[in-house]
Each structure stands twice: as structure tokens, then as C-alpha cells.
């Protein structure tokens, strides 16, 4: 097991009380596996990523849990150890490639800088290695692109460069937070294919954060569905998408216009996400759930196997 997160809870201090952004999250990622984390804004998917990377803001506190990376707890490491992990062991790709790149530094130099740091190579060799890594993300004329500035490249090209940067060390885990959300669908398709290929060739695990269930279906073997800072369902992607158990997962799929009959209204979820400062005692989705029982308001359901024989599909719901 490459990454093993147990009972992780994170809070943010605010003037109106503490925002409980993550509540007892547990999941793991195996070596070479692509795991999708899906949820809407405020579900805690990005906070999970930032916590693993040690990049939480100062007002955040980790109130419980552990994050084991290759058996070592990231949360008890000091700053230097965490820094050594970031980039070298765990690569990152974020939504907006322009913010991840240095705006006034040529692509080749940016890559060389990263490679020098992680692989301890002299500049010239690092620059050559950078050009090689551009070729590996299928940039046709890597020498030419290396001499360009980020603003001279298209969004899709920039994201390829960011992926080349993230994979340069090369890391064992890649955390990708909405890496294709800002891109056109045809470019998205190419970037997804590229990430899949890199993962297959190098055995890199990918934690793929997205709001797009279609992207999950295409990319991920397993999916974790988050809602209001909790994991409500997880399992094999095709299982979860075709036989969703948690009412939230079902509602999320039902709200998509993809398969909807244009003559019928979309199945919108009533109500709003709960206030994360005052979490309900019971199920976090109960107030919006059509099937909620009295028990759902009182007691929080744990993440349990959907069927006794099936140890790969879990849901946190009292209604079965």
C-alpha cells in the first residue's frame, strides 16, 4: 500500500466557529492504482490533497488521524522531511496550468531547475533530461517548446508541461486536482490518455480529484465519493456508477443531463449542503435525502460493505 489515510479530520478556524472540513476520512491507494475522488464544491476533496501535501493554510488544524505514505506518517514529519516528499515522492498537477508555471522563465529552464533539485544532475544534463521529459508527454518539438515562455503555449500544451514537471522526479504518487477542468473536451481527452499511459508505464499511482463523473468513469479503477467532508461511498468505479447505493451518489448521477430525457426535469437535489460549522449529529446528507429514516437524523452511519461477500464496495447509509 502506497498511501493509507486513517480517520483524518481537519478543521479551519473562522470568526464564526470552526469549519469541520474533513470528518474521519479513511482510504488507501495501492501502487500503480488510479483512484478518483469525486465531489462538489465544499466536499473536502481538495482539502484532502492539501493535507497530504502539507500545504494547508495556517488557520487549519488536523484534529485526528494519520496519513501513512510508504508506511511513514506524513503528519508527524518535520517541515524539511515534508518538503523532501513534495515534488520528489509526490507530484502535483492543479487545475490552472498558468499558475503552476513561472511566468517569466523559459519552459526548459523550469524543468531543468526541478530536475537538478530532485536528481542532483549538473545543469546541462538536467536541461537535456527536461527535453526528454517533454517528449515523454508527447510534445512534438521539445527543443522548441523548451525555449518558450508559458504564455506562448496553449492551455493543453501548458498542462502537458505541468505534467512533465510533476513527473520529472519521478514521483510514486501523483495528485491531480481537476487537471482537465479548464481544458476543452478534445484536449481533455488527450491529457487523460497521457496520464493513464504515464501511470501504466511507470507504475505511478494517481489520486485524481474531479467533479466530473464522466472523467472518473474513463480514468479510474476505484472511486471515492465525498460529500460535506465525509466519504459517503467508495468502490470499483463501474460498480459505484452503475449500482450506486448512497442516495447522494444516486442524486449526483441523476442530476447529470448526460442521460436525461429532455422532456423531463432533471433530478435536482433539494436543499443545500450543511453548514460545516454545525455538523448534524446524524447522517450529513439526511436533511436532503428523500429516503431518510428517523435513525438517520440521530446517528452517523459508518462506511460499511454494501454486500457481505463484496469487500470492495462501501457506503455510509442506514437505508439498505
Amino acid at each position: 500500500m502506497l498511501l493509507d489515510i486513517k480517520e483524518l479530520s481537519v478543521e479551519f478556524a473562522s470568526m464564526q466557529g470552526n469549519v469541520k472540513a474533513l470528518q474521519n476520512i479513511s482510504f488507501s491507494i495501492e501502487k500503480g492504482e488510479i483512484v478518483g475522488i469525486v465531489g462538489e464544491s465544499g466536499s473536502g476533496k481538495s482539502v484532502t490533497a492539501l493535507t497530504i501535501l502539507g500545504l494547508l493554510e495556517k488557520n487549519a488544524s488536523i484534529t485526528s488521524g494519520s496519513i501513512l505514505y510508504k508506511g511513514r506518517d506524513v503528519l508527524v514529519m518535520d517541515k524539511r522531511e515534508q518538503q523532501a516528499l513534495r515534488g520528489k515522492e509526490i507530484g502535483m498537477v492543479f487545475q490552472e496550468p498558468m499558475t503552476a508555471l513561472h511566468p517569466t522563465m523559459k519552459i526548459g529552464d523550469q524543468l531543468a531547475e526541478v530536475i537538478k533539485r530532485h536528481r542532483k544532475l549538473p545543469h546541462k544534463e538536467a536541461y537535456q533530461a527536461g527535453i526528454k521529459s517533454l517528449a515523454e508527454v508527447h510534445i512534438h518539438d521539445p527543443e522548441l517548446v523548451a525555449r518558450k515562455y508559458p504564455f506562448e503555449l496553449s492551455g493543453g500544451m501548458r498542462q502537458r508541461v505541468v505534467i512533465a514537471l510533476a513527473m520529472a522526479a519521478p514521483p510514486d504518487l501523483l495528485i491531480a486536482d481537476e487537471p482537465t477542468t479548464a481544458l476543452d473536451v478534445t484536449i481533455q481527452y488527450e491529457i487523460l490518455k497521457l496520464m493513464e499511459e504515464l501511470s501504466a508505464n511507470r507504475g505511478t499511482s494517481i489520486m485524481f480529484i474531479t467533479h466530473d463523473l464522466g472523467v472518473v468513469a474513463q480514468m479510474c479503477k476505484r472511486v471515492i465519493v465525498m460529500y460535506a467532508g465525509e466519504i459517503v461511498e467508495q468502490g470499483e468505479t463501474h460498480q459505484v456508477l452503475q449500482h450506486p447505493v448512497h442516495p447522494y451518489t444516486r442524486a449526483l448521477i441523476g442530476a447529470l443531463p448526460d442521460l436525461a430525457d429532455p422532456d423531463e426535469p432533471l433530478l435536482a437535489i433539494p436543499g443545500e449542503s450543511p453548514d460545516l460549522r454545525r455538523r448534524p449529529a446524524g447522517c450529513v446528507f439526511a436533511s436532503r435525502c428523500a429516503q431518510a429514516l428517523p435513525l438517520c437524523q440521530e446517528e452517523r452511519p459508518g462506511l460499511e460493505p454494501v454486500q457481505q461477500q463484496n469487500e470492495s464496495h462501501y457506503a455510509a447509509c442506514w437505508v439498505r
Binding site: 463523473l213 464522466g214 468513469a217 447529470l256 442521460l259 436525461a260
Partner: protein
């Protein structure tokens, strides 16, 4: 739907519209030879990727950019004479933008935001359309509460902000509304509410929509007919079911097959 094919009057008609930016060697054709018409009461979808020219077309239709060639007829009358925009009846055409965060003035109260388009109207019409009852009925219809009126945009979620933007567009009783990526910045469950609302409003108020989006599923769900834009040109046009079932152009096929679908795993694009 089929019955309506019998000659419904177009509300807007674009005839070989062209837009060039720059001059000399730096010239860029943002839109070339775009022709289509939108019939009264239909939702016409315009789909394309970034740089395809779909937003430029929206700007030309709303009077923000002049076309360099071609003509646009609104209700049979030309919208542009050269660089001069012939203002139609004020408030008859409205627009809802993608990002309600930036399309609502952060320092205006919701009530003033919604009523602002009425300033373009003659005082008599302004008084009638801006009456308290009409305003309250409208905000109730889009799903806002009376006490929201005195608040500022930052106090609302993305979905609520888009409801404010929709109310602002409808206060003038428009016949034609341009929806430029109205749900692209919203979460899926919020998008469902807004799309449902837009469909209901269209039915109740007999609106005509030009729906601009890069999202094929949203276009399929919302529109009657559609045009596919690629590099400034309309490459395919037809009813939504025709284009989704039998895409003729290679680009449309690529677009359709690049769309990650929930149930088909890994489809190779046709290109």
C-alpha cells in the same frame, strides 16, 4: 415539436456574418460566413471549443462588437448598419453570462442589480415593469426570497447568484435571451436546478433562447436545434437529435467521442 416546423417566424437571422480582428498580416478571422436563424420559441444551441468564435457571435448579436461583413436581422430589421448598432426595443433582448461572480456588481444590492436594466426603458414602462409586486413575483419565481433583495452578491452561493442574473435578465420581459455558458461555473447538482428553472421560464414566458455552451450533454438536454462551430465556422447544423445520432462532420464526431461518458468506458475518438 415536429408540428412547429411549419414556417415559424425567425426571431433572429444571421446572414454570412463575419468578424475580423486586426489588420494586415495580423488579421484573424474570428467568425467567417456564419449563417443561421433562430425561430420564435425555440432553444438554439451553439457549441464549440475555446476560440471557435461562439462568444464573438454572442457579442455581435448583443451589440458589443460589430460584424465586419454580413447582416443580422432581429424581428426582420437589421441590427447593424456598418459599425452602428440599431438599438431594438430596449430590454427585448437580454443576456445571462457564465460567471455570476463577475457579472454582478459587488457593491450593488440585489434589488438594484435586478432593476438596473429598466433604466434603459422609457419612464412609463420603467414604472410598470419595476413595480414592487412584479419584482416580488419575479424573485419568488426564480427561487429567491424577499429579504434577499437588500443583500449584496457576495452573500450568495453560485447558484443563487445565477438566479439573480436570471431575474435581472427577465425584469424587462424580453422575448429573446442569450445564455452564454450559464451553468459552466456551477456544481452538477446546482446546474440541474438552474437548467430546470430555465426550461420552466421558457415555457411560461414563451422565450426564445440562444444557448451557448461547450458542454454537449447540456446542449442535448436543453436545445431543439444546434450549430457546431469550429475555428470560426459553422461546420454542422441541425436538430439536436440528428446531430447526436448521426453526426456528419469529422469534428462533431470527435467532439462527441471525446466526451467522457458514464457508461461507455474508453471510446477512441474518430480522428
Amino acid at each position: 415539436m415536429l408540428g412547429e416546423v411549419i414556417r415559424v417566424k425567425p426571431i433572429i437571422e444571421l446572414i454570412e456574418v463575419q468578424k475580423e480582428y486586426g489588420s494586415g498580416t495580423g488579421r484573424i478571422q474570428a467568425v467567417s460566413q456564419a449563417s443561421f436563424s433562430i425561430r420564435q420559441g425555440e432553444t438554439f444551441g451553439l457549441i464549440g471549443e475555446s476560440g471557435s468564435g461562439k462568444s464573438t457571435l454572442a457579442k455581435i448579436v448583443t451589440g458589443l462588437e460589430h460584424p465586419t461583413a454580413g447582416s443580422i436581422l432581429y424581428d426582420g430589421k437589421p441590427l447593424w448598419t456598418g459599425k452602428q448598432f440599431n438599438r431594438i426595443q430596449p430590454g427585448d433582448m437580454q443576456i445571462v453570462f457564465q460567471d455570476p461572480q463577475s457579472s454582478l456588481d459587488p457593491r450593488m444590492r440585489v434589488k438594484d442589480i435586478i432593476l438596473e436594466p429598466l433604466h434603459a426603458l422609457p419612464s412609463q414602462a420603467r414604472k410598470e415593469k419595476g413595480s414592487e409586486e412584479r419584482l416580488h413575483a419575479l424573485i419568488a419565481r426564480v427561487g429567491l426570497k424577499p429579504d434577499h433583495l437588500s443583500r449584496f452578491p457576495h452573500e450568495f452561493s453560485g447558484g443563487q447568484r445565477q438566479r439573480i442574473a436570471i431575474a435581472r435578465a427577465l425584469i424587462t420581459d424580453p422575448a429573446f435571451v442569450i445564455l452564454d455558458e450559464p451553468t459552466s461555473a456551477l456544481d452538477v447538482s446546482v446546474q440541474a436546478h438552474v437548467l430546470n428553472l430555465l426550461k420552466e421560464l421558457k415555457r411560461e414566458r414563451k422565450l426564445t433562447y440562444l444557448f451557448i455552451s461547450h458542454n454537449m450533454s447540456v446542449i442535448r438536454y436543453m436545445c431543439d436545434r444546434m450549430a457546431v462551430m469550429y475555428k470560426g465556422k459553422i461546420v454542422e447544423m441541425g436538430t439536436v437529435s440528428d446531430i447526436f445520432d448521426n453526426p456528419a462532420q469529422a469534428y462533431t464526431k470527435t467532439l462527441l467521442s471525446s466526451l467522457p461518458s458514464l457508461h461507455q468506458k474508453k471510446v477512441e475518438p474518430h480522428v
